[in-house]
Symmetry: C2
Subunit: 306 residues, 2 copies
């Protein structure tokens, strides 16, 4: 799957992923109105609103981008109807030939991790039949439980030609509380990065591994170090835009081949119409604002790639 | 919520939680047959089978135990129908007056963590209405992202009188890869435990905090240390039984008040009928085997409490 992601990045010339994290507050009034008039102010109504919102944004941007990253928490908060909207969003993005990174940050041990891997990347058997429950292409994974937590995901990745991104250094202000603590003279995130590189050796695509890493845009000096610790690892970079990261910060996240990183923006793209810069589009044309925001982000990031 | 959990532990005299982790392989043939004949060998059929299985075990054990811990991965692997079975299981356990610990191991940052907290412990607004999506009483939380990841859960716990259990030292063989690494002379799990104790100060019940910790039964010497680092923290203990922990290992997980720990068993209870010890019950009477296994576990654990 990493080969397909790289092909898509090269084809679109855009190492960009659009984060489909549809808070109801981002959804324009006319979409909410239509959804609520059909389903009421219910979980079903909320789910319909975020699904229609996603669909419009995907339609307006899918030719420009290689991948999307739906954040499952935003759907899970609307219960079962929300998760149905997640499932529909994943399926629709596949129809549009996008790579789907499920931002699920799951992580457990043994057969429990395997169940998460099956749920999101694999297939489950029921009697004689098999089903692909959520069927993303990549999933994000939390490393705190060690190899026992990650290996079941890797096994499914090998079987299904899928991939994962393991949290290494997250973009949030308090990420250093544990991740930056020194162990044998090196921060924890570097130890995790070494493990990611080792796990990745066993699950290679052509130039990059199906085991990627998450490294926030908000710590560019750390990104520079981690690029070297994990040379064959695709880095998924959150924290661009709304969280403060800029294109110029990201120079060292890329390898000399101009590859090796894919930068996520969520709010900056999907709620672009709410920013002064794109206000001229107006609320009704929110998806056009998102398209323009993708074009602008692409330019900003590609300057960093040199 | 921690007060309620403690009351229930005292009333049942059983610091025990039954892990409702229903793999299809544990479900007796007659239940699967009935479910598949109604819904086919489909995700709906699997979900019906695990729901009927759970219901029978809850009916057979609910007077003996304070709490259950459904592991959401086992439901998530059956997609939307599986998650509906999770939701039904939580609601049914509430009807039976059980405390429900959602073993979800979620963890993200800021508004994303808040969305998970809302999904599992809180309520979500849609227009004028509010809904409680999954509505567990406690949730397990991963600490790797630091305070930004945990505080949104704590905020919801305060508002809703709910609780969390933060992963400190997990029961799996490779948990030490990161958790045991020394930072300033102390293992990472001890640093996490100190944070748990500090987070907990801000969210106290009477004698214990609504912020609990997960410490595996498989590392009793570590449990002894962590008991002292987190004196007011309820410790949720996985790894008893099938993973190798015994009652005698757990002496030091309890405080002098005989409280402070609640021990989970999943397979050892729900699949008891498959063990030689309980084979006499037979497959049809699997729930009676589970009841006997709870009684035996209670005796084993209470010896450790002294």
């Amino acid at each position: 799957m990493i080969n397909r992601l790289i092909e898509k990045i090269q084809k679109t010339d855009a190492p960009i992923v659009v984060g489909l994290d549809p808070k109801l507050a981002f959804v324009p009034a006319h979409i909410k109105k239509a959804a609520f008039s059909e389903f009421g102010e219910t979980l079903e109504g909320a789910a319909e609103a975020i699904w229609q919102f996603n669909k419009a944004i995907v339609d307006a941007t899918c030719d420009l981008i290689p991948a999307v990253k739906p954040q499952i928490a935003m759907y899970e908060q609307y219960g079962i109807p929300g998760l149905i909207a997640f499932e529909k969003t994943v399926a629709y993005c596949h129809e549009k030939d996008l790579v789907v990174i499920g931002d699920i940050k799951r992580g457990d041990i043994g057969s429990t991790s395997e169940s998460y891997a099956v749920a999101h990347l694999g297939e489950v058997s029921v009697g004689e039949n098999t089903f692909r429950p959520f069927d993303e292409d990549f999933a994000t994974v939390n490393p705190y439980l060690g190899s026992d937590g990650v290996n079941p995901f890797i096994d499914i990745c090998k079987k299904e030609n899928k991939g994962i991104f393991v949290l290494v250094k997250t973009s949030n202000p308090s990420s250093g509380e544990f991740q930056d603590r020194l162990i044998d003279g090196k921060p924890l995130y570097e130890h995790v990065a070494e493990k990611v590189a080792a796990w990745g050796e066993d699950c290679m695509g052509d130039a990059y591994s199906n085991v990627g890493a998450v490294v926030g845009a908000t710590y560019p000096e750390i990104g520079k170090v981690l690029r070297k610790v994990m040379p064959k690892t695709m880095i998924l970079v959150p924290g661009y835009g709304a969280q403060g990261g800029t294109g110029a910060d990201l120079v060292h996240y890329f390898n000399e081949d101009g590859l090796g990183a894919i930068v996520n923006s969520s709010r900056g793209i999907i709620a672009a119409y709410k920013k002064d810069e794109y206000a001229k589009f107006g609320e009704e044309a929110f998806a056009d604002a998102s398209r323009q925001a993708v074009l602008d982000m692409k330019e900003d990031i590609n300057q960093a790639r040199g």
